[in-house]
């Protein structure tokens, strides 16, 4: 919302400076986005008079001017064709900045002639377009004075952001009212126009809408014998100052009241209306040729104003071309109405029309401005365009406004903590137009003004009071601490996310944060729920389906980093994946991918790259940090997800529950992402890991140290490629009760056979082993291994 200081002053009697007003606007909640104060910005540029202009000795196009600054005569070289003796123009001196290009002026020598300043054009001053020469100021301009006020640039333009609740401040009057209440000046209430009807209205009105709230009130007036044309200069200046283009007096007057009082109006050329006006729903497919020159195809949920020929206006949003006013318009029908905010918002959004009228009606226009606004506009039309007005005709009436708020004055203290005298609350509310009844009790009965549809309860009144008296009155008050030492605040899931994240980072991974949505082809690769989880209005097809798996985003991350020349990677993410629309379908995963040598090549490495055994180690370490011993889960290679290499991956399961997967990414997936190398991944469902058992005490089980030393024995078993080391290990472990650990310390393969080196730890219980006992246990171990196909080898 833009307005100028002079416009504001038509409703606010104030001596406040531009800066004070800007501060006050911010303080009452009308956020200042910009203040354009050309006079202040150009204050250093002063009026100067050329007293002599002679040809430059060394340049045909340049002149050497003697310039009177008001205090001295200086020499300026100037290339403008209109630089002539006697001309009053604008002078810039060394040290000043040319607004148009940021150049700092300096003393200079131009083709051997000294120049002590610059005579400026409107273009250089940033206040106009391309021009032929330097500015020509009026002859009575006082030499040495700032030039900007002389040409009317002393009217600062405010641009403020209006929050959706404050429709009243889409009018200058409403802004003035807030400022007056905040003590910036005195509100000047607009005069009520009194229109004496001279003719009789001949256009009949009919409201025929499916729901009465679409158009609670429609009013208008016929004015005959007007003369349309350019509006007077003051009106044109008003509109230009806030960025509106003057069109013709009749149109400009309606635009003026839209900005001035937040009262959108519409003027029909009465001679172009066929028959009477009906407010109705559009018929499916009806087309309106609107005033913006575009055709709009309408739907039955849109409210329109139609005549016998068809739709002439989209109610409260935009008028139609056919009945629009032109230079030749003689008779007009001026409309002032109330529309349903929801219907206007929906229609405007559906058609993509952003008009000043829509902006106001969808937030709520003061119902009581319907007749006053019509009268004021009528008066201005009569004043500017002449003609004769009819009586005011209307259908409907003001909607009932029975808002009455019981307001215990203690609410201010309760919600803000501020001790405020009641008279201050009273003054504030009354200045904003609130009616206060029962004022001698401490429970006021308050009726909000018609222009504040946003006020509905006690809290709203507290806000009105505190924003006007100033939020700096709210004193920071220490928040009481709990009377206990706080307990841990994170849930198990949150704790697990933090631990997973930091454990993976501690293993060299970079944490990535990737989009929650991925492309449909990617979602399909990872078995995503495309049917339920595709966005209706994605920002792009790349970001259109909720991710079923974190690996998709991580693979994309690796591919992008490879495109930048970083071929090795270690990235992880801990976050949500989505299997369906319900909260239960949102799962929390930790996933990571490594590729190549993320830490870079090292002299002590033998060219090792990230492999499945390394990520298995990392996965087990993460699970251990999460309080879960992965050795207690089953390792399964059956029914792995399609994005894993079927021979180099596994699932970790607890019964039917899959905790997660690790292994090599399927080459076809890597190829899909255009990734060079063999990415190795892990993914774990952080909520599938069993919660630690609740124990009655934090004390650990008593440590039993056996005084007898354990002994170790090494075994080498030969196995075929179909025998799994894990099975051998487990079989050996079970061979004797004294076996406390089986460590696989060596794997050697060659000539179609694999040799497994196992170190078995045997722990005597009450007495040391005899040789015979050790031999018996060794025999049991060999026999157990043979049971799973592992033969004692040489």
């Amino acid at each position: 919302m833009k307005f100028t200081l002079s416009w504001l002053k038509t409703y606010l009697n104030t001596d406040a400076t531009t800066a004070q007003i800007a501060l006050a606007l911010n303080n009452v909640g009308l956020e200042v986005e910009s203040v354009l104060d050309a006079a202040a910005a150009l204050a250093d540029f002063k009026v100067a008079q050329i007293v002599e202009a002679t040809q430059h000795p060394n340049a045909d196009r340049l002149r050497v001017c003697k310039v009177d600054t008001g205090s001295e005569i200086i020499q300026v070289v100037c290339g403008a064709p209109n630089a002539r003796a006697g001309l009053k123009t604008v002078l810039g001196r060394p040290g000043m900045v040319v607004p148009a290009n940021g150049m700092v002026l300096k003393l200079s020598e131009i083709r051997g002639v000294k120049s002590e300043g610059m005579l400026c054009s409107v273009e250089e001053l940033g206040i106009g377009g391309a021009s032929e020469g330097i500015m020509e100021l009026p002859e009575n301009a006082p030499v040495g004075a700032p030039f900007a006020p002389i040409i009317g640039l002393d009217d600062p333009v405010f641009d403020i952001a209006i929050t959706p609740n404050r429709s009243d401040c889409f009018g200058v009057l409403g802004i003035a009212r807030d400022l007056a209440a905040a003590g910036l000046g005195e509100l000047i209430a607009p005069n009520k126009a009194k229109i004496a009807p001279k003719i009789t209205n001949t256009i009949a009105l009919k409201v025929d809408v499916p729901q009465p709230n679409w158009c609670p009130l429609f009013s208008g007036r016929l004015i005959t014998g007007v003369k349309n044309g350019p509006s007077p200069q003051w009106l044109q200046d008003r509109l230009t100052s806030v960025g509106l283009r003057p069109i013709s007096a009749l149109v400009d007057i309606t635009n003026f009241f839209t900005i001035d009082r937040c009262r959108p109006l519409h003027v029909f050329d009465a001679d172009k209306i066929a028959g009477n006006l009906t407010i109705r729903a559009a018929h499916e497919g009806e087309v309106l040729e609107a005033l913006d020159g575009k055709p709009y195809t309408l739907a039955p949920n849109m409210c329109v104003i139609a005549d016998d020929a068809g739709i002439q206006s989209l109610a409260g949003i935009i008028g139609g071309m056919a009945t629009g006013c032109t230079e030749g318009t003689v008779n007009v029908f001026v409309e002032s109405a109330l529309w349903d905010t929801y219907n206007i918002a929906k229609t405007g959004r559906a058609l993509g029309i952003h008009s000043d009228a829509r902006q106001r009606f969808e937030r709520g226009v003061d119902p009581k401005s319907t007749f006053d606004g019509l009268d004021a506009a009528t008066q201005m039309i009569l004043d500017i365009c002449g003609g004769q007005a009819s009586e005011l005709v209307k259908i409907g009436n003001y909607p009932d406004d029975d808002r009455l708020i019981i307001f215990p004055t203690s609410e201010v203290k309760r919600l803000t903590g501020v001790n405020m005298p009641e008279f201050e609350m009273k003054m504030t509310l009354q200045a904003l137009g609130f009616y206060i009844g029962n004022i001698n009790s401490d429970e006021w009965r308050i009726a909000p003004p018609s222009w504040r549809p946003d006020i509905g309860g006690k809290a709203d009144l507290v806000e009105e009071i505190i924003r006007i008296v100033g939020l700096d009155r709210v004193a920071a008050t220490p928040f009481p601490r709990l009377p206990i030492i706080n307990k841990p605040v994170l849930t198990l899931r949150q704790t697990r996310m933090r631990i997973a994240r930091r454990t993976l980072a501690a293993q060299g991974y970079h944490e990535a944060v990737t989009w929650s949505f991925i492309s449909q082809p990617e979602a399909e690769l990872f078995n995503g729920n495309v049917a339920e989880l595709t966005l209706e209005n994605p920002i792009s097809s790349e970001l259109s389906v909720m991710r079923p798996n974190l690996l998709a985003g991580l693979l994309g991350t690796i591919a992008r980093n490879q495109a930048r020349g970083f071929m090795d990677a270690a990235v992880m993410e801990v976050g949500s994946v989505f299997l369906g629309r319900t909260p239960e379908d949102q799962k929390t995963f930790a996933a990571s991918i490594s590729l190549g040598q993320p830490q870079g090549r090292h002299w002590a490495d033998k060219g090792d790259v990230a492999d499945v055994y390394r990520i298995k180690e990392q996965a087990y370490a993460m699970l251990a940090a999460l309080g879960f011993n992965a050795e207690t889960a089953q390792l399964s290679t059956q029914n792995l997800p399609a994005h894993f290499h079927p021979g180099r991956s596994a699932a970790l399961k607890l019964g039917k529950t899959t905790i997660g997967y690790f292994g090599e990414i399927h080459p076809s997936i890597a190829q899909h992402y255009d990734i060079a190398g063999r990415p190795i991944a892990l993914e774990f469902d952080l909520e599938a890991i069993p919660a630690p058992r609740k124990k009655p005490t934090k004390a650990r089980a008593k440590l039993q140290l056996n005084p007898l030393q354990a002994i170790t024995r090494d075994f080498a078993f030969m196995v075929g490629a179909d025998v799994k080391a894990g099975d051998v290990q487990r079989a050996v472990q079970k061979a004797d009760a004294h076996i406390t650990n089986v460590r696989l310390f060596d794997v050697y393969s060659g000539k179609g056979k694999i040799s497994l080196g196992l170190e078995v730890t045997l722990q005597p219980q009450d007495k040391t082993f005899t040789q015979a006992e050790i031999e018996a246990m060794s025999a049991a171990i060999v026999s157990a291994a043979a049971g799973v196909g592992a033969m004692l080898g040489g």
Partner: protein, 361 residues
């Protein structure tokens, strides 16, 4: 014979001193103190001597023996040290070879996670717990329950991502703010309530300062006495602690959010110079968060009596906090995951924020 003793001693000591390695020294020992050594030989002659002679001669020989023994031991120590030095010299390695980079040094935590931990540490100290809710929300929880009237322009300002309607089901969308977690919390937890609610949020908007996904953290207090003064104190203390400065000037401006009343926007004092923002100094203001007293309609929608209970809520962008505190200029880079960016702006795995150890190093 006795006249020979000093010469013998001198000769032996000279041999000891001349020994340059342990075998030579051992040979000297055997030749003197060994079974057939010269000193042992002298001692064997004692038995043939007269008592008087034996006494003086014996004492003399014993003195020599002790001196030789000491000299042997001393020389042995010297030779052992020299031998060790030779071995050590031979064992020297090239210590300039580079170490293997430790994962503790190369691993990185994303700034958003780090800042969430910082925020959590601060509010946990004030007795807040962490609540969360789903990213995919109902229209009701995201808007209606939060007092956004149907068709209100405030809804439109949220640029919502929607899922296609399913017949007979409520409209689903991606939450545009973490405020639905306020509703979920108030519907399930009895006041007093002190929670923060971090999470991912979504709006279909994309430019230099907006990404379709971002992170918010809201706070909510509901009890029988918390008012705007407490809110102001919490936010001031939060800003001061989070930005690790001695003092933060705050400016409160009235604003509008459908779910709070009164609603306030908070600016903090900062300086802007050469693209760098410094919090707590300067003459500029920076909009940092929105807040307000929980709207009575919102309390009512959650079954809480607004005449008995009251409270406040605030919301701040986690990404924005990270940008401001750690000087990362471009929001979009947070989600690009360029490994150079994470290497530079990320945090080491054991840099765990706490109030006792400091939020950052």
């Amino acid at each position: 014979m006795s006249q020979n003793l000093p010469a013998l001693e001198a000769e032996i000591l000279a041999q000891i001193a001349a020994a340059t390695d342990e075998p030579t020294l051992e040979a000297v020992r055997v030749a003197t103190l060994g079974k057939t050594g010269s000193i042992s030989g002298l001692l064997k002659t004692l038995g043939t001597m007269a008592p008087d002679e034996r006494k003086t001669f014996g004492a003399h020989v014993n003195t020599i023996r002790d001196g030789v023994t000491d000299a042997l031991a001393a020389r042995k120590t010297v030779l052992a040290a020299a031998g060790l030095n030779i071995r050590l010299a031979a064992e020297a390695i090239d210590i300039t070879l580079p170490p293997r980079p430790s994962p503790l040094e190369t691993g990185r935590i994303h700034p958003i996670s780090q800042v969430l931990d910082e925020v959590t540490a601060i509010f946990a100290d004030l007795g807040f717990s962490v609540a969360e809710g789903p990213d995919i929300e109902t229209d009701d929880y995201n808007f209606t329950a939060l007092n956004f009237p149907e068709g209100h322009p405030a809804r439109e300002m949220h640029d919502t991502f929607f899922f296609p309607r399913v017949e007979g089901q409520e409209r689903m969308l991606l939450r545009t703010h973490t405020s639905p977690v306020q509703i979920r919390t108030m519907k399930t937890v009895q006041p007093p309530i002190r929670v923060i609610m971090p999470g991912r949020t979504y709006r279909c908007d994309s430019d230099q300062t907006h990404t379709p996904m971002f992170h918010q953290c809201e706070g909510l207090v509901v009890d029988k006495g918390s008012h705007m003064g407490h809110l102001k104190w919490i936010l001031a203390e939060f800003c001061r602690t989070f930005f690790e400065v001695d003092k933060v000037d705050m400016r409160l401006r009235p604003s509008f959010f459908p779910f709070t009343e009164p609603s306030v926007e908070v600016d903090i004092r900062c300086s802007r110079k050469d693209g760098e923002i410094r919090i707590g100094e300067g003459d500029d203001w920076l909009e940092i968060l929105g807040c307000g007293m929980v709207h009575p309609n919102v309390l009512r929608n959650c079954g809480i009596d607004p005449d008995v209970y009251q409270g406040f809520a605030w919301g701040v962008g986690l990404d924005r906090l990270a940008m401001l505190k750690y000087g990362a200029p471009d929001l979009r880079a947070f989600f690009e995951n360029d490994q150079r960016w994470i290497g530079h702006y990320g945090f080491r795995p054991l840099d765990i924020p706490s109030l006792f150890g400091g939020l950052s190093q």
